[in-house]
């Protein structure tokens, strides 16, 4: 399951920063249910690492295992290379921000931020007061030290919680859905601020969210979790463009998933850079973070673009699709692949003529959701549904087409 994307799996990590947080075969059970199942992760120093997944996928439990609020039933958690088995949370040197911020209601903002300084000297030889002031400035709340938490807005509380967690100078910052109680606009502003603070301090950060868009926007790398295990661990772009499993394909962004039997292998092609076409324009906000380069952190596998590939005809029921598949594919194999809505091009009637009918799909508009910039249209296609994005109003029966290179094969079952 996505093993080629595991960091260090192929030793291709270009970034040789030391590992800050390591989970090694970690499991956690509650009675009969397994919340976290044999998870192995390596998070590097200074990395912004996000655990994303639907509720109950084990992402929060994973965070709590790192913080020391839970003990693993199996496996080892290491912080800074040392096993932290049996080490209580107060000795782990982690900063935690909870979903509800958990500000101490009987203390002022300043007292909240200073609380951790009861147990650790303020870093950088500062006095407590100086450190509190510094942190409140960092989170853009100068002069708020004497306020009570209940005088603050939700966004301000969230930032106080950040300042409090950072005050003692933790090695690792753990954020458990810190935005989910805020409204959408504020959330976008705050996540940019969180990201900026993380960059400024270069602090190793583990971020838990159920919001895949948020995960793509802020992270260096993302672990998409399902049923207690990451399905894929990779930089946001890789997760978006080359989901490792059907679950990832459908969880991250809209997608059209196809499944079928290989009819014919029509010839091998050179590794091409065509794969990435279209994506920059259509990707959700924030994916194109300028500082980031593909696979820069943790060395997610670029397995596909570096290997041999073949154009393959796959019978997906309504039609036979031509897709770019791994080179070792053979007739009779079963393939699963996905095509992003933005890669389903809407054809004008004139265009349709003379095209290879293989990748032309005809369907009738079932519903349209106006999203502002674009409209998400669902087409009835046979007994299935296709999702396309358009800027023009659509109705009736239309044809869409995709390029074989835009199909991403994520499962290959040999005959």
């Amino acid at each position: 399951m996505g093993s080629e994307d595991r960091p260090g799996g192929d030793g291709a990590a270009p970034d040789d920063a030391p590992v800050a947080v390591e989970l090694d075969g970690v499991s956690r059970r509650y009675g009969d249910t397994t919340a976290v199942s044999d998870v192995s992760l390596r998070i590097r120093e200074g990395e912004f690492f996000t655990l994303v997944g639907p509720s109950g996928c084990g992402k929060t439990t994973t965070l709590r295992l790192i913080a020391g609020f839970e003990a693993p039933d199996a496996g080892t958690v290491r912080l800074g290379g040392r096993s932290v088995e049996g080490l209580p949370p107060e000795d782990r040197n982690v900063g935690v921000v909870f979903q509800n911020y958990a500000l101490f209601p009987h203390m002022t903002v300043g007292e909240n931020v200073a609380y951790g300084l009861n147990f650790a000297e303020p870093p950088g030889g500062l006095t407590r007061e100086e450190r509190v002031r510094e942190l409140l400035e960092l989170v853009d709340l100068p002069g708020m030290a004497d306020r009570d938490p209940d005088e603050l807005s939700g966004g301000q509380r969230q930032r106080v919680a950040m300042a409090r967690a950072l005050a003692p100078g933790p090695e690792v910052l753990l954020l458990d859905e810190p935005m989910s109680a805020l409204d959408a606009q504020l959330r976008e502003r705050l996540r940019a601020q969180v990201k900026a603070i993380q960059r400024e301090l270069s602090i190793t950060t583990v971020y838990v969210t159920h919001d895949q868009e948020e995960a793509l926007a802020v992270s260096d790398r993302v672990a998409v979790m399902r049923e207690g295990t990451p399905d894929q661990v990779a930089p946001p772009r890789t997760v978006y463009r080359r989901p490792a499993t059907r679950f990832v394909a459908e969880f991250v962004g809209d997608n059209n998933v196809f499944e079928g039997r290989v009819e014919a292998v029509e010839g091998h092609v050179e590794p091409s850079d065509q794969v990435d076409r279209n994506i920059h324009e259509n990707a959700p906000h924030g994916v194109g973070s300028p500082v980031e380069t593909e696979g820069s952190v943790g060395g997610a596998g670029n397995a596909e673009s570096g290997t041999d590939a073949a154009i393959t005809a796959v019978d997906v029921g309504e039609t036979v699709a031509r897709v770019r598949a791994p080179g070792d594919v053979a007739v009779g194999d079963r393939l699963s692949f996905c095509v992003r809505p933005e890669n389903l091009r809407i054809l004008r009637d004139a265009e349709e003529d003379g095209r290879d009918p293989a990748n032309v799909l005809r369907g009738s508009v079932a519903s349209a959701e106006f999203l502002g910039e674009t409209t998400r249209v669902r087409l009835s296609w046979g007994d299935r549904e296709l999702v396309v994005r358009t800027t023009d109003p659509l109705s009736g029966t239309i044809s869409v087409a995709f390029d074989p290179a835009d199909a991403h094969v994520f499962a290959h079952e040999r005959r």
Partner: protein, 628 residues
């Protein structure tokens, strides 16, 4: 764990270094400021052990102060002349005097025959049966008196509503013997009831030593309990749930039946179950109001102990315990399934008690509320007012004679006579002592029982058992186990009578601390403690810095409870203080009541004043008791 084995060699060493197990490691870890870091580590280590140490201390204390003494008593039921036998227990079970017709079951008769006789006109209930019967009647009376109160408090808005709601706790902590005196002053031949009746030309009644008086006194105690728990449940009903039901087409009555009632009746059941358990183990009230004619199990246990028939007393206590624990267990099982506390709900809007232009229906409801208020006022105020009145009236009208008697007794009383000042002094000393033990014990148990871990239920049960064991048995156990002395490794260890009384009071009081502190701790967001710990605070430090300040109202309330329980404790004290100098105010009242009512009521007023003053003091020291 596959490649964990490669690091396994290093990991334990690292962990040891973190723990600072050897001086070398500790200094190694703190390169720069070694000395301050070492001091910090030492402090941290000490802090870290406080909570486990306190927990162990609590367990030890419980074992020494409760389980061992109670165990020694109960063992007597099956140990006669040094050999183990079930004779005495079986004897009690087969004795119709105790179990009535049910005894037939244990004597081998067919259940059908027993049932037939129980349903027949000549059934015999026996002592146990009668105790259950009066408890059932008392429960009915308490629910009947308490339920309308909950309705009024939850559904109407009027000045003083909050105060009234807080006051519902008061009867529960009033010293039972004082209440008994109050009821004697109300129902006695020359009591206020008969005075009132003859004033309006009605024939007088003789309620003293009747079941009615006992049941009304029990309702005095327990109806407010029913009111409290029901009001709380009623107030936690979400108005939007009712509104949803109404919008779906349910009428007001249907919405009440389908939405409100299911959330309220578990609370009523809880109030009823607790009332039954409390009144099943009743002692001072029956002793004072029922005499030996209406003896309950507890009164009989006491009588057997005074006759030095320990084996039979213990056997009877076991039967009593089985009934109480069985019921409590059933209740806790039920509670576990029904504790869905909704938080942050919008409560149902309250009606104004005096609407500007009431409709006929509204007026009718208000008339009902007024009638209820009259009954409630009578039941709750009559005993206290009667006691106050009786303390200043003599055969010739108003007099201070009874108080003069107390002063006189203090000055000239013989050594064997009960004098007022030592009683007041002892009560205060024992109260402070019991508070000092019960408060930390209760807080520790509350902390231990609000966290989720395996065996939590067991801890809960072990810690809460003292609530269901009769004070008489605890007192007897302490007397025979600790006061008379225990042989431990060849050394005789004996505890002074005063210490034993403090122990008994602490055991009686700390469950109330648990009950007032626990829910507050439970309701606290656990991420508060986790935040504190991630910031470097040990578990004990987080408790001190974060949890306790946030549940302070509960802690104060618990302290007030523990103190009040100690002030009013009668059952264990009467066993422990027999023939000693350790008598308290309730014991003094009991000694007086047998001979003359006047001084007993005067002493009762003194007890009321001292208890109220202590409440004020605790309130001042502890800040507002908002949670009460």
């Amino acid at each position: 764990m596959t490649d964990g084995s490669g690091d396994a060699g290093g990991a334990p060493g690292d962990a040891a270094e973190d723990g600072g197990t050897t001086p070398g490691d500790a200094s190694d870890a703190a390169d720069g400021d070694a000395s301050s870091a070492a001091a910090r580590t030492a402090r941290d280590r000490a802090e870290r052990r406080i909570l486990p140490a306190l927990a162990a201390g609590t367990v030890l204390l419980l074992a020494v102060l409760f389980y061992y003494p109670v165990g020694t008593v109960l063992v007597e039921a099956v140990r006669v002349d040094g050999r183990y036998t079930l004779e005495v227990l079986v004897g009690v079970l087969r004795d119709p005097f105790y179990l009535g017709d049910l005894a037939g079951l244990f004597a081998g008769e067919s259940p059908l025959a027993v049932a037939g006789r129980l349903l027949g006109p000549d059934r015999r209930l026996g002592i146990v049966g009668f105790t259950a019967y009066q408890a059932a009647l008392s429960t009915l009376a308490s629910v009947a008196l308490g339920l309308p109160g909950a309705y009024v408090l939850a559904r109407f808005e009027f000045p003083g509503r909050r105060t009234l709601r807080s006051l519902t706790i008061l009867p529960f902590v009033l010293p039972s013997i004082m209440v008994a005196v109050g009821f004697v002053a109300t129902f006695g031949d020359d009591g206020t009831l008969n005075a009132a009746l003859s004033a309006v030309g009605l024939p007088t009644v003789d309620l003293l030593f009747t079941l009615e008086a006992v049941v009304i006194a029990h309702a005095f105690y327990n109806a407010p309990l029913v009111t409290r728990v029901t009001t709380a449940a009623w107030e936690s009903v979400d108005a939007s749930a009712v509104e949803t039901a109404r919008s779906l087409g349910a009428g007001p009555f249907r919405a009440f039946r389908d939405v409100v009632a299911p959330q309220v009746y578990p609370a009523v059941l809880m109030g009823a179950a607790l009332t039954f358990v409390f009144t099943f183990g009743t002692f001072p009230i029956v002793l004072a109001l029922g005499g030996f004619e209406l003896a309950t199990v507890e009164v009989f246990v006491y009588r057997l102990i005074r006759n030095l028939e320990y084996a039979e007393a213990a056997a009877l206590a076991i039967v009593e315990l089985a009934v109480s624990l069985g019921l409590l267990y059933a209740y806790l099982r039920y509670e576990a399934r029904h504790t869905v506390r909704s938080r942050g709900v919008r409560p149902l809007p309250r009606h104004r008690l005096l609407p500007a232009s009431p409709s006929f229906g509204q007026a009718l409801v208000r008339v009902g509320v007024a009638a209820y208020a009259l009954v409630a006022l009578t039941v709750f105020l009559a005993p206290v007012l009667s006691m106050l009145l009786a303390s200043v009236t003599g055969p010739d009208g108003l007099t201070l004679e009874h108080y003069r008697f107390l002063v006189e007794r203090q000055r000239t009383g013989a050594a064997f006579q009960v004098r007022p000042w030592p009683a007041v002094r002892n009560s205060l000393l024992f109260g402070v002592g019991a508070l000092a033990v019960a408060l930390p014990m209760g807080v520790v148990v509350a902390v231990l029982t609000t966290r989720d871990y395996r065996g939590r239920k067991l801890v809960d049960a072990v810690a809460m058992a003292p609530l269901s064991i009769s004070g008489i048995v605890v007192g007897l156990g302490l007397l025979r186990g600790l006061v008379f002395g225990v042989e431990v490794w060849g050394t005789r260890i004996a505890v002074g009578g005063a210490l034993a009384v403090v122990a008994a009071h602490a055991v009686a009081g700390y469950p109330f601390v648990v009950r007032t502190v626990g829910p507050g701790l439970d309701a606290l967001d656990r991420s508060l403690v986790e935040s504190a710990r991630a910031l470097g605070a040990s578990r004990a430090r987080a408790l001190l810095d974060v949890e306790l300040p946030l549940v302070r109202p509960g802690v104060v309330a618990g302290a007030a409870f523990a103190f009040a329980i100690s002030m009013g404790e009668f059952s264990a004290t009467v066993v422990l203080a027999t023939g000693t100098e350790q008598y308290t105010m309730p014991i003094a009242i009991e000694r007086f009541i047998g001979r003359r009512l006047g001084p007993a009521t005067a002493m009762g007023v003194v007890l009321l004043l001292v208890t109220s003053a202590s409440f004020v003091v605790i309130d001042r020291f502890g800040g507002e008791t908002g949670g009460l």
